[in-house]
């Protein structure tokens, strides 16, 4: 079973700081990490390989900092990592990213299965895996919470209103949810071995793609959450029950109770 996993080096949103005046994220020098759902996709690929054999290759697209994710990819146990980087790709939209991933996959060679996180930790568009499947003209199964491969693909997908169980031929594209597994934490010796492994850098011009984005991101800001700051004065013990009722009514009004 030869599996290709799409792995993004995303911003570590938990550590992102926001400009208090503009509400915009301060991205310069912001820490990055492997996107959470992509990490689970890689874990799932490694588990399949451990069961049925084969190879796990990864493709990562983004600005030059993306190369840093390769250490973690190898430390987890992938066989080969491929990277497409360009300064301009920091602002790539989902169409362009999917196109680049597909052209890179064509260069990587044969595969039985493509896995990706259902959405990235930072962009969170939920679009890339579906677009990759469409461009490759392959069946697509979104938001898988379980996956098994035995000649054919069996995926349980959480589609919101229900969990659907699909059986499908290979090759296919599957996007995975956060629930699908608990990814391994690489050991230090795996990290050290990973740092000695080489990876392949594809250049945009070799893929025959122009970096043109049709989507313009005008602004990214932190949502403002206004607190109601409701104060209930409960100083008179004889009226305590009324005051409690007042709090409960308010909570019911907000659908909290």
């Amino acid at each position: 079973m030869d599996i290709i996993v799409c792995v993004k080096q995303s911003y570590d949103v938990q550590q992102l700081k926001f400009d208090p005046k503009t509400g915009e994220p301060m991205l310069a020098g912001a820490p990055r990490k492997m996107s959470d759902m992509d990490r689970r996709a890689l874990e799932e690929a490694l588990r399949i390989k451990e069961k049925v054999g084969g190879t796990v290759k990864t493709v990562s697209v983004g600005p030059p900092e993306t190369r840093d994710v390769v250490k973690e990819i190898y430390a987890m146990g992938a066989d080969e990592a491929f990277v497409v980087t360009d300064m301009k790709l920091d602002k790539a939209d989902s169409d362009l990213t999917a196109k680049i991933i597909v052209e890179a996959i064509k260069k990587i060679g044969n595969f039985d299965l493509i896995l990706a996180g259902a959405a990235s930790t930072d962009g969170y568009s939920w679009q890339i895996p579906a677009k990759v499947a469409a461009l490759l003209d392959l069946p697509f199964f979104p938001n898988a919470i379980s996956l098994s491969v035995n000649g054919e693909l069996v995926a349980e997908c959480d589609l919101g209103e229900a969990i659907y169980k699909y059986k499908a031929p290979l090759p296919s594209v599957v996007s995975v949810s956060l629930e699908i597994n608990e990814p391994r934490i690489p050991t230090l010796s795996a990290i050290l071995k990973a740092s000695r492994k080489q990876f392949t850098d594809f250049y945009i011009k070799d893929l025959g793609i122009d970096i043109v984005t049709e989507l313009e991101v005008r602004k990214v800001t932190m949502p403002k959450v206004e607190r109601k700051n409701m104060v209930v004065e409960a100083t008179d013990p004889s009226k305590m029950e009324d005051e409690i009722k007042k709090i409960l009514d308010e909570l019911r009004k907000e659908n909290i109770l």
Binding site: Q15, K33, D68, K71, I185, P186, T187, L188, S189
Partner: protein, 420 residues
Amino acid sequence: MERILEYPKDPIITFSKEEELFRQMVREFCEKYIEPNWIEVDKAAEKDPMNMPLDLIKKMGQQGLFCIPCSEEYGGQGGTYTMATIATEEIAYSDPSVALAVYALLNNGWPFALELFGSEEVCQEILPEVARGNAFFGIASTEPQGGSDVAGIRTTATKKGDVYVFNGEKAYISGVGEVQKLPWGGGWFLIARTGGEGHQGLSAFAFLARKNGELKEGWNPTLYEDIGRHGLTTGGFIMNDFELEAKYLIGEENKGFYHVMEGFNLARIVVAAATIGAARWLLERAVEWFRSRKLFGRNISSFQGVSFKFAELYARWEAARYFVYRASRLADKIYMEKDPSLNPKDLNVPVALAKNYGPETCVDLAEEVMKWYGAYAFTKEAPIFRAWLGPFSYVIGAEGAQNIMKVIIARDLIGKEFIR
């Protein structure tokens, strides 16, 4: 747990990408397995010291958090000493009682000291088991008459044919319970007298009280009830004609004092790392408290009596952190890179500074945080006291008394003959 304080961006003490990734992975491990459990571990072992967290030790072994600087051929991680320091700091941040950090630091520092001076056969036998979390390997130097006077050790090891026969008593030794309960067993880098009086009559041994799950005869342990850091046992043991094969002698006979002093230097770096980890947790509890606690209509940190003290303690923490990583980088240069311009004695002062400064900063900080918390800190519901009593063991004197650190600094700077 939300990280309230950003880790300092530091152009002087820098980390490689591998070290950064390793720190991230250790944090992830700690967030998953240690942070949710450390208070329960401390409570359970307070009731009975033999309630040690064996499952967690096993998991830490699987994650490669022991024998970090040891060679891969001995089951180690093949990392740097700084990587052991990073791991210890992060484990202590997630378990500020420092029990698990102390388990980890002992099982990084002393296995590495064994690898430096021990035979290949003995390393091959012990280190893979320690690395996997199946065995404990710490330090047994202190005796009932005191710990600081290493040259005055009374335990004897008399060579009879192919074995050494041990008689004597060790006290205040970490890991006495773990050696009895871990699947394989383990023991200590133990110092005993093989020659005449003074430090030149001492030898070091890989003293295995239990191996392959079997206790050896002539070893009579006892456990103490500690006031803190319960997740790691402390005890003592009496050796009555305890026999150990001669191959377990570490390095040369009667050179044990020099070997153990190098081991102490290595172990003290990670001891100080544990205290800066716990201190970072304490600093964050302080900031969290300041942001929510109001008195006289304002946050308590708006009183300069509070915020200035916080600023002073933060400065001490940064300084302690610098001492710790400066010493561990120096250890990397001496032991990993084998820099010919340096020798092991160059670690004496940097390590003594770190060991002297880190634990005191942590304990002083814990006391202040408890005062800022007010009466709540005096209840067992607030966990701050656990981060006070655990690190306090290192102010009292574990791994070298504070005054001994000052003696080392004064001796090396002023000159041995001028401080007698």
